[in-house]
Structure formats: C-alpha cells, structure tokens
C-alpha cells in the first residue's frame, strides 16, 4: 500500500535531484511503478517534462536512456542496426578460413555485430533504467504503433537473431508537445499527466533550488515578472527553463533588482522571448507595467 510517507519520501528524493514536484505528480509517479504503466507527460515546452525524467532517474539511482523522436524515425535508429562496416571486415578476415557460408552468416549476424539503439538498450539493462521517449508526437504513426507493441510485450524480434526478451522493465516516460494528435491506443496505454506552468510560490522554490546563490528579493521579482509575461498573448510563452536562464543571466550581470535596472534588463529579454514577434509585443509601456507589478 502507498502511504503518505512514500509520497513524501519520493518528493524529497526528487527535490534532492533538483526537481520540485507537487503531490498529485508524485502520486502519479508512484502509480506508474505500482501499475507498470508508461507515463505520458504533456505540457508546453519548458515546463519541465524532460527534467522530470532526469530527476526521477537520479532519485532511483539509475540512468536515463533517451530516444529523441523526429519525423522519419525508424527501427534502425530507435531499436537496433547491424554494424555493416565491422561485418564486412569480419567477412574479409574469414575469407581464407574453411568455414561454411552458414557458419559465416551465423557469426556476422550475432550480437557482437549488433548496434543497440535506445529501445533495445533500455530493455537489456540489469537495473531498470528510465526510458525517456521525448516528443513522441514528432514520430510517425507507424512508429507509434511499433512502440505500443514493445510497451506491452517487452521484447524485440530480430529476424537474424530471434527474440530478445527484456531483462528488466524500464520506467517509461513519454513527452509530447501536442504537435499532432496521438493515437487513442497509445494514450489509453499510458498514465497521463499535464504539466502546467507552476504557480509563483512553486516557481520561486524551483529558482532557489536550482540557483542557490540568488538573492531572494531578485528571485521573487524575476518569478513575478515572468508570470506577467506569460499572461501576455505571446506565440511562445517562457517556460521554467527560460526563467532559470534569465535569472542566471541577471546574476551574471550582477543586477540586484529589476525595477531600478530597466535599461539593462531590456538587453537580457532574449532569454525569455525567443521570437521577434513576441519581442515586439513587449513595448516599453508593457515593460514598465510588468516591472511595476514585479516590484510590488
């Protein structure tokens, strides 16, 4: 049975790994372990989806195996590939030997010449790793279907070698930025968690946790300013990653507080706003308003 102590313990382990998670998220992570289901994380870019996988792995003292998805990703890049160059070399070396063709074939299509890619690597570890399948929405639907099969059978079939069964079942986390609609089958196979932008207090804790040297006054102003920016109609709202980048930039420039340094701050806003359209949206009147709110 999962108790409040388990939730608290995992929360603390995540915090030590630099990730501040609230109770529903920790509960979902515990369920992921309890029900052996993958976890599908959705949310805007920069809210901490990938960071969660890394922190979760650190909390369990295991490694993250990451598969970055993109259009055209296939089995050769995701599961395994043969090392053709080594195979050719091996065949040349065996040319003079009296081995039969069948023996040579068995030799060059053995595990020695197999290049495991992230999915195969993830199921052949002795200690269950965290398998992070990043931006699954960028992969094709065929790959998604293949993934579904792997996530239920935990085995990979290689025609020349046979079936490789999982040595341990990895903790699977999938992330999506809603670039395309994922199939119902995949969504239903997974637990779902929507990571939203954190509230002011939570984001403040994140900033203080990740940038321990930051002046508390500046940290609060930064977080309040970023919350004001997020409320604007922007093409790309700044995520937590951008808040951390900006706070680090302000620290490097030795800016002690926001309102008194408006001119210098303008030059650093590239850390928060990544398109020209958004940059123009923040005119001087809006900037003054945001600085005023941040100071309050």
């Amino acid at each position: 049975m999962t108790t409040s102590q388990d939730i608290l313990a995992l929360s603390e382990r995540l915090a030590r790994a630099g990730y501040i998670a609230d109770r529903p998220l920790v509960t979902t992570l515990l369920l992921m372990e309890g029900l052996d289901r993958p976890l599908l994380l959705e949310g805007d870019a920069g809210v901490g989806k990938t960071a969660l996988a890394q922190a979760y792995a650190a909390a369990h003292d295991t490694r993250v195996i990451r598969l970055q998805c993109y259009e055209g990703l296939d089995v050769g890049q995701a599961v395994y590939e043969w090392n053709y160059a080594h195979q050719l070399l091996a065949m040349k070396l065996q040319e003079q030997s009296d081995r039969s063709v069948a023996q040579t074939e068995a030799e060059i299509f053995s595990e020695r010449f197999l290049l495991p890619r992230p999915l195969l690597k993830a199921i052949t570890q002795d200690k269950p790793p965290v398998l992070l399948i990043d931006e699954i929405d960028r992969a094709d639907e065929q790959f998604e279907a293949y993934l579904l099969e792997l996530l239920s059978d935990w085995q990979v079939s290689i025609p020349e070698l046979g079936t490789i069964r999982a040595r341990s079942i990895p903790h699977v986390m999938l992330t999506s930025n809603a670039t395309r609609e994922l199939s119902d089958a995949l969504r239903r196979r997974c637990l779902y968690y929507f990571l939203d932008y954190p509230g002011v207090e939570k984001e403040l804790r994140i900033v203080e946790n990740r940038l321990p040297g930051i002046n508390a006054h500046l940290a609060r102003q930064v977080v309040k300013f970023v919350h004001g920016v997020r409320a604007l109609d922007l093409r790309k709202r700044p995520g937590v990653a951008e808040t951390l980048d900006w706070a680090a930039a302000l620290m490097a420039l030795e800016i002690p507080a926001l309102p008194e340094n408006a001119d210098r701050i303008i030059d650093t806003l590239g850390c928060l706003m990544k398109t020209q359209e958004d940059r123009q949206r923040l005119d001087s009147a809006t900037l003054r308003g945001l600085l005023f709110t941040a100071a309050g």
């Binding site: 999962t2 509960t27 040349k92 040319e95 060059i108 809603a178 670039t179 969504r187």
Partner: protein, 382 residues
C-alpha cells in the same frame, strides 16, 4: 469474482466520465480499481490523482476532471455539473433527487448490479465504435454538438496525416537502382566473402508533390471552416513544401498559421484574426490575385492545387474560368472540393461550367469525413 463495493463506485465514476466523452476501456477501469487498492482508503487526494492519471487522455479532459470528480464523490458540496433541465428548473425537488442519486465518496447505496459490471463496460465500447461510423458520414453543417465537432476535426487532421504513410513508405528492393540496400547486399554476398559481386538496390525515394491549399472562408463556407482548417493543417504537416491561403473578397497567406504546432493555439490565433472571417466571396478575383502574387513562386510542375469553395461567387464565371486556366498552365494537378456537392439535388454539372470542369483533375465534395477521405486517397496517389 464479485467486485467489492468500492470497485462498483469506481466503475460508476468511469461510466460518468464516459458519458462526458472520456474514452476509457475495460483495462483502465480495472487499473483504476487496482490503483484504489494501492492507496490508503482515507486518502482521497491519492484516489483523485490516480483516477485522473488513468482516465484523462488529453489536456481538455484533464482540466474538466476536477469538477466531475467533485460532482461524483462529493455531491453535497459540488455544484450541479450541467445546466438544470427545464423540468428541474420548474421543480427543484427533481434537481435535489438527481444530486441524491449521485451518491458520495463512501456512499454505496446506489451501486449497480455487480454481475453486470464488466458486460456493461464492453457494451459501451461497442457503442463508441458505431457512433464514430455515424459521425464520419455526417454533414459537418448539421453537427451541433461541440464534442462531436471537435472529434470530427481531430479525425480530419488524422486522416490527412495518414497520407504520410504513402509518401514515406519503406523503400522496396529493386533489381537496378542507385542506392545500395546494405542488408540485402550483405546477405547475398556471404558466399563471396563479403566482396559485393551481386548488388541489391533500394527504389528511389519519390519526391513528394508540392501542395497549394486555397480555402474559401466566406460566410457561405462558415459551417465547414473548422473541419477544412484542421484537414488543411494536417496536409500542411504531411507535404513538406505546402503553402496555405484563405480568401473571401481578398486573399491571405496563412501558411505560418496553419503550421502552428499546437491545435488549441491555432484555434485561438485564427479566432483573433477577424479580417480572415468577414466578407462575401470573390473567387475569380482571389485566384487572379494568387496567380499574380504567388503562383510564380509556389506553383510548378510538381504542384497540386486544392481549391475548397462552394462556388458562390459574385465574379463572372468567365473570369473564374480564366483564372483557373492560368493556374492550369503551371500546376501538375488541380482539385476542387465543394461541400455543397454533398447536398441532395446539387450536381457537378450545375455547379461547374463545362469549360471549368475540363480543367479540373478531381471534383469532389468536402462536407463530411468520408468525403475528405476520398480526396485524401486521390492526393496520396497524385
């Protein structure tokens, strides 16, 4: 095995969610019961987080979940989920009875017959499949339920994305070619010690056509715009060099908007652009303007131009024919999709003058998902 009482309450909650459009299967229901068993019985927040993770499959469901959870497990403290029916407005006792029937977190008085619990689950899933068949044939104009509309829009986009499979199909082995099939070559030349005497080749990758999407967004097309926009967005994601334009009395290039990665953000950005949605229709002038400003850059011999319009034009038919003739000289294929062709009694001959018809490679309707599927099939082969 007879499910115990909490299991019945959870199954009841799952049914409530299904009525609200959540797609929850038997396995999720069973896992929800397992999740509840994992938790401390008094820890309602664990149950809430667990059920939410198991039953929500997208962000819209995620945001609605809390209200539904409160309504089901804490009826006394939650507001009624939907508007009161006319009868309930007249007689408040009916609303009170509805509230009472929903039970509480530990209330088990109205649990369903446990023997039917699993068969009921399966029946509901069957009903979902037949509903989707009906939806795919429905004229989008007559879908008034917002949930049905959203579902069709999502399906339209998925339909467009399916073309990608054709465009990116795995390359087959061929006898002659320029790209060596390493795996096959390796196996074929085992007998020669790896010396590649017999080469095996892969077929050439087919150059995908360039798509030009010209969508009429005038008042007369307003009912179909959400469906066609999502279909168009899907196509833009499939065809790498695609360009999208919308028109009513003026023409706008909207490629950037249609390439917006997030569907909800696209909806908001389109809603904010008022100038896109106002006006009558001047198809001929809009097409002439396209020919003048954009055709040179975007329409070449591998371009497929898709025009979506009901043809209700205030310009003359001769001007329209002339504009299409100019386009015809540049493009590989021209498709015209007209949602009105799905209406009874409206025929191609009435909608398109013979001179115009002769220049179009495909004329189809675009009023429902099925009709879009036919257009998608043509696009995949073109």
């Amino acid at each position: 095995m007879r499910p115990d009482a909490p299991a019945e309450r959870i199954a009841g909650f799952v049914r409530t969610l299904r009525r609200e459009g959540y797609g929850i299967g038997v396995q999720e229901t069973l896992d929800a019961v397992r999740a509840a068993a994992l938790s401390d019985p008094l820890d309602a927040e664990f149950l809430r987080a667990g059920l939410r993770a198991l039953t929500c499959h997208d962000v819209a469901q995620w945001h609605r979940f809390d209200a539904l959870f409160e309504n089901y497990w804490y009826p006394a403290r939650a507001p009624l989920p939907n508007e009161l029916s006319a009868a309930e407005t007249i007689d408040p006792r009916l609303a009170a009875r509805r509230r009472e029937q929903r039970g509480g977190l530990t209330g088990l008085a109205h649990a369903m017959d446990p023997d039917n619990i699993y068969s009921a689950e399966i029946q509901q899933i069957g009903a979902g499949a037949s509903r989707q068949n009906t939806l795919s044939r429905s004229d989008f104009r007559f879908l008034t339920d917002r949930r049905d509309q959203r579902e069709i829009e999502v399906l339209a986009e998925r339909l467009a994305l399916r073309i990608r499979r054709r465009l990116r199909r795995r390359r087959r082995e061929v006898a002659r070619g320029t790209h060596i099939h390493m795996r096959r070559t390796m196996r074929r030349n085992l007998a020669t010690g790896g010396l590649p005497v017999h080469l095996r080749f892969m077929e050439r990758r087919r150059e995908p056509p360039r798509l030009v999407w010209l969508q009429d967004v005038s008042h007369s097309m307003a009912s179909y715009s959400p469906l066609l926009t999502r279909f168009g967005r899907g196509l833009l994601r499939v065809f790498p060099d695609a360009e999208a334009f919308v028109f009513h009395t003026r023409l706008f290039r909207v490629t950037g908007l249609y390439r917006e990665v997030n569907a909800d953000a696209l909806r908001k950005r389109l809603e904010a652009r008022n100038e896109l949605w106002l006006g009558g229709t001047r198809i001929a002038e809009s097409l002439a303007s396209f020919n003048q400003r954009y055709a040179g850059r975007y329409v070449d011999r591998r371009a497929i131009v898709v025009i979506l319009s009901d043809g209700m034009d205030s310009d003359s038919p001769e001007d329209l024919t002339e504009a299409v003739r100019v386009l015809r000289q540049r493009a590989h294929r021209i498709l015209w999709l007209n949602p009105l062709l799905g209406c009874e009694g409206i025929r191609v001959a009435e909608e398109f003058p013979p001179a115009l018809r002769a220049m179009l490679d495909f004329i189809g309707t675009a009023h429902s998902l099925d009709s879009l599927a036919r257009a998608a099939e043509y696009l995949a082969r073109a």
